[in-house]
Symmetry: C2
Subunit: 357 residues, 2 copies
Amino acid sequence: MIPHLFAVILAGGSGTRFWPASRKHRPKQLLPIGPTPDSLITATVRRIAPVCPAERTLIATGVHLLDATRALLSWLPASSFLGEPVPRNTAPCIAWASWEALRRDPDALVMVLPSDHYIADAAEFLSYVETACRVAAAGAIVTLGLKPTRPETGYGYIEAGAEREPGVCDVARFVEKPDRTSAEGYLASGRHFWNSGMFFFRASVLLDAVREHAPAIASGLELMARAGTDPERAEAFASFPSISIDYAVMEKAENLAVVPSHFAWSDLGSWQSAWELADKDEAGNAAPADAVLADARGNLVMDLRSAGGPRVIALAAVEGLCVIETDDALLVVPRERAQDVRKLVDALQARGRSDLL
Amino acid sequence: MIPHLFAVILAGGSGTRFWPASRKHRPKQLLPIGPTPDSLITATVRRIAPVCPAERTLIATGVHLLDATRALLSWLPASSFLGEPVPRNTAPCIAWASWEALRRDPDALVMVLPSDHYIADAAEFLSYVETACRVAAAGAIVTLGLKPTRPETGYGYIEAGAEREPGVCDVARFVEKPDRTSAEGYLASGRHFWNSGMFFFRASVLLDAVREHAPAIASGLELMARAGTDPERAEAFASFPSISIDYAVMEKAENLAVVPSHFAWSDLGSWQSAWELADKDEAGNAAPADAVLADARGNLVMDLRSAGGPRVIALAAVEGLCVIETDDALLVVPRERAQDVRKLVDALQARGRSDLL
């Protein structure tokens, strides 16, 4: 255990990129998308159990997801769950959770983690977490920076400055999603890291930074503190501006540090990533054992139906397809076009088929 | 009505090319594969109703298919159904049906038709039938030869000889499935026609030819005539050699005529043909009305499930795929590789999944 450490697990996501598996009321973090049978949020909470006990693990999620989320994390106490009445991006919810942690422990140290990422090796991950916590306990706002493995244009980057100590650097600056040329430069530089969205700070340090750089959020927190009933809390929460922690605080704060990290990680951004992480046969197919494949290569086949009888999925002469079945939908899309799932979701919305979203 | 005409509908097929829709006990002719909601055999029987009454329409099918076939042709009398105890290809069953027709009418004229082909225009088709019947009534064995529309290497051809009368030629010879170069020559020649498998003859003429060219079949018929019980009939039928009518009789018989024909026809050889005949949207997709398509072109989508709840099929960024759903199977195969369905059927067989065949 790390003394005074609270985990704040951000579980408000409602992505559409894993449709038809993910739905409004069953977003990605509640699904077993990775190579293990656990849901992503369950894996996230189990991963940090060695350093953070259940009663200091806070789950920030939308009120509409509270029941489903609690069901997957049944060993956490009721006080672990913070229900956001309306979505307000990450800054208000991190500020609120930090305020809650500070209320429970004046020396609270906070670790903010996404609930829907994949990390292969928990022990390796926790060694970076321990470094980050040590630096945060001394007053810095710390982020884990992931060593890039490709010129990714879909992530933000952190540029490292001077080395503070072995394995810890100052943050020179946060960099928005780059173009391809910049991304290639970052990959080569050795000084640029993917912004993992994992932050570590003393609750008091974060709240000071919020008061200085995001006064509207600080005002919202005061309203939250005065609210005595659920409707009052909902009203107070709605008063928060919708803004990310990066924009609201990180890009302006001082004493920022980055811990360059290189553990096996994926943000599981699409069915393509699910295929990358899945167990595959020698032809690159990830498919149920009873699937029948003839001349099929590199496909991702998932039968996620809960009802209906047994079914065989048969693929012949196809390459690089995702074939995903649920009780009420069947998706076929090339892996390389997995982001087009969004177009299908938009089309369903336009047809008034929100029952399928 | 055409006097003395009996129709013999060959309905013993057990093809695998429309798996998972077609099964051992539900072969292609029992399915509504074409653009109409009727099964192919129902459409075949209805098409000839203007020239051949129910009591002279004979359905030759496997005993294991009798019940399902009767259910689709409920207006035909019990005497219309000839159940083959074991499969013996087309020659024995055509000989048997002709013998049965002759028993009922000494002047019987027989028209042999496949049960699983698509013909767009019944009236146009029947005009060729009338010509063929007239020539057959005068003693010839007549076949409809279909004018080729592509250099098809999967069919047998009939080479026409001298013109007997306008629209009727002698048969110069039957030609086996040709190679590509020959097929291109046949397409250009104007004298070569696809062997439709539709034959017209006096029953007595066919049986004379059987006695002359296929004595083993003639012997089998004598055994059939003497058989008094079902087991005796089964034993007699099993004594037939397994051979096609083309090999056993047509390639050796005299007084053969061909009626060159050019009605819209398809043998519906694969899911590719089903797509060709289906109603399609402007992007060439044949799909259920509630399917959701984004950037999808030329796909065939069929939901043939009879159970389970409503389901949406969603395709993004795919072209030329067949996506076929039944209660217990899902098939994905490119249209141009539709013949690979056979590989899947073989794989299922090898795995002992005959429950799916």
